[in-house]
Structures are given as C-alpha cells and as structure tokens.
Symmetry: C2
Subunit: 219 residues, 2 copies
Amino acid sequence: MKTHAAIKFNVPEPTLRRLPWYLAYAQLIQREGEQYLSSTQIAKNLSVDASRVAKDLSYVKISGRTRVGYEVNELVRVLNAFLGFSNRHKAFLFGVGNLGGALMHDNGLAQFGLEIIAGFDAKYELTGTSINHIPIHHIHRFAELQKQMNVSVGILTVPVERAQGVADMLVEGGIKAVWNFTPFRIRVSEDVVVQNTSIYANLAVMFNRLNELTELTKR
Amino acid sequence: MKTHAAIKFNVPEPTLRRLPWYLAYAQLIQREGEQYLSSTQIAKNLSVDASRVAKDLSYVKISGRTRVGYEVNELVRVLNAFLGFSNRHKAFLFGVGNLGGALMHDNGLAQFGLEIIAGFDAKYELTGTSINHIPIHHIHRFAELQKQMNVSVGILTVPVERAQGVADMLVEGGIKAVWNFTPFRIRVSEDVVVQNTSIYANLAVMFNRLNELTELTKR
C-alpha cells in the first residue's frame, strides 16, 4: 500500500472543490425551468475560466451537445452521483460539544449524502440523550456499535487534546474516513482519508481581511 | 479604491490558515502545564517545515528566547489577539435553515470572536422565534436593525437562488464582511470581504478520496 500522500488520485482536489459550484448553479437553472446549460454559461456566471469548466466537467461522464450544452436535469443527476451526494454514507460523530451538536442539527448533510447515525461523547450525562433524533452514546460503546454498524465516516469534533487519541481509536475500529473539524493536524495510517475542515481558520482569514480593508479605507 | 483581488494583503492566506493550528497546539501544551514552546517543537508535532513555522510566526509580534522558545501563555495570548479571536465581532445570520440553525447552535464561534446577535429569514413562521437564545427576525427588518446595531459581519446560509440577492442587500446595508456558506460564488463591491466556506465541497473531496482508496485496496 502506498502512503496516502504518495497516492496519485484521479480527480484533482481543486476540481472536486469547483464541481459543487457548478452543481449549485445547475440546480438554480433547473429551478428556473431551463432545459440546457452550456459550460460557457457556467463559466460566465461563476467567473471561472471557460476552459477550466470544460476540463473540470471532462472528469465527469457526461456529454453535452454542440451549441446547446448539457441537458440540465442530466447534469444535476450526474454531478450529484459523481460527487457522492446521492449515495448514503453513514457517519458517527465524536465529541458532542458546541460544533458537534451543531452538525447533528444540520439536516442538510443528509441531502449531501452524509447521514450521522450516532454521536459519541465521554460525558456520562450525555449518554442516552439525543439531538435532532440522533442518539448519543458513551464513547466506550464505539467499538461494539461499530462492529454492528460498520460505519465508514467518523466526524471529529472533540477538544484538541483528545483529537489524536480519538482518531487512533476510530481507525482501530475500522473507520475509513475522518472528517476532522478540530484545528489539530491528526496523523493516521496511509489507507485512511483525512478531510480537514477548519471553520475557525476561515474566521481568522476573514477577520484579518476585514481589518486590513478597514485600515485601507481609513487612509 | 483598488479592487479586492488587486489588494496586496500583508499576511498571506496560507499563513493565516496555519496560525490557528499553532494556537491549538500551544493551548494543548499550555493545558499540559508547560512553560515554553519552540518553533521546532511546533514544526515537529504538526509535521510542518520548521522554517515555515518560523516565517509564519514572524508576522505575529512576538519574540522567542534562543534555545527555550516562546513563553506559552504569551504565545496563546498574542496569537488569539492577532487572529482576531479575542475581539468581539457582531454578526447577523441570513437564512435560518439547516446549516444556519446549526451555526446558531454553535457557541464555539463566540469563543473565536464571532457573536451571532440575530438571525433573519424570509419565512414568517420563524419571525419572533429564537434558537439558542438568538432572536430571529423577518428579513424585511434587516435595514432597520442594521442601522441600530451597525453589525460588520453577515453570515450567508440562504438557499443558492437567494445568495446573490441577499448579499447585495447586506452590502447595501453596510455589512463589511460576508461569510458565505452557500456553494454560490457571490459577487460584491471591492471594499467588502467575502469568505467562502463550503462544507459540502469538503464532503465531495472526502467521498471521492474514500472511493478511490477503497478501489485501490480492492486491487
């Protein structure tokens, strides 16, 4: 098995990040009742280079018609499937604190193919409670429930000092992808996917830009 | 006024995205009761190049001592201030749907300097209700409440087809930074900050990597 960093994935990450924009735009056009959508139209409306849109869509198995473009319903269906949004990925969430609880409230995740079927926490007072009809178990029950349910995705929203330890436990239990919301850079074996999503890093960038623009405006 | 894209910001975005990792690690070390932390130690533990850590920290006004490194409490305090996490930025949230409601539940944001003081939605049945003690108003009241409260940050969690229209309204009302959680690429005037955070784009990347690794393992 090659190390994760050394694996050459088929679809580049920037492409995977742009495809949801095209999907969102196609869905907008779909709701407006249009039948066809061209890559030039996508490019123009999203301010992305037209050749980049065409290249991105070349990874997706869909063919457009010259001059008219892609059939909108087909484009929406194919993009949803390609991005994994029409699959049903079961997930366990670890750390039912502020952010963890918030994610359990977000029914939108299920529409994008991710279904949180249980939360786990080390706090005994949370055991047996639920959020948004999702049960919360004590973290000691993870191994047992994982054996029954064989969940592939683990959402990590524990405090920083628990991040590596809990990640190790997930991988040991057979979790194949860790969605890491902690600001800690966890390390896992090479056959496990780590997706880092740092909401607070985005905040840091936004605050800095806001300050710098405010300074510029004052001059 | 220069266009936003043309503005040369002082601190590079990758640096702003890494600094919260260093902060998280420093806080971990702080809780373990250590007094000093060196950039080499940060580099080693977070698998970042040591010269990169030193360069990143050079943007922050803090000086370390040769051999012993940074005083941990000081590093935590200075990084929190530098990243804007110890300020209090007031925010309005627009679109109290799944994700919007989830963000209103996340008390963690306040710890990182962002306080959501009201939600707005076009649905009349939400008017007068609240989530996590944060009041929800009809979107028609935005201009009036913005005049009273002079909020700088707008969180955008509306449906895709409303994204541009609501963003225009925010900017018109004097919002200076838009935290855009929609997959739509909104366009605003050059003196307004847009921070795009697409949770679902991260999901797309994770699902794809999970699939590709599963395929590799099968071979």
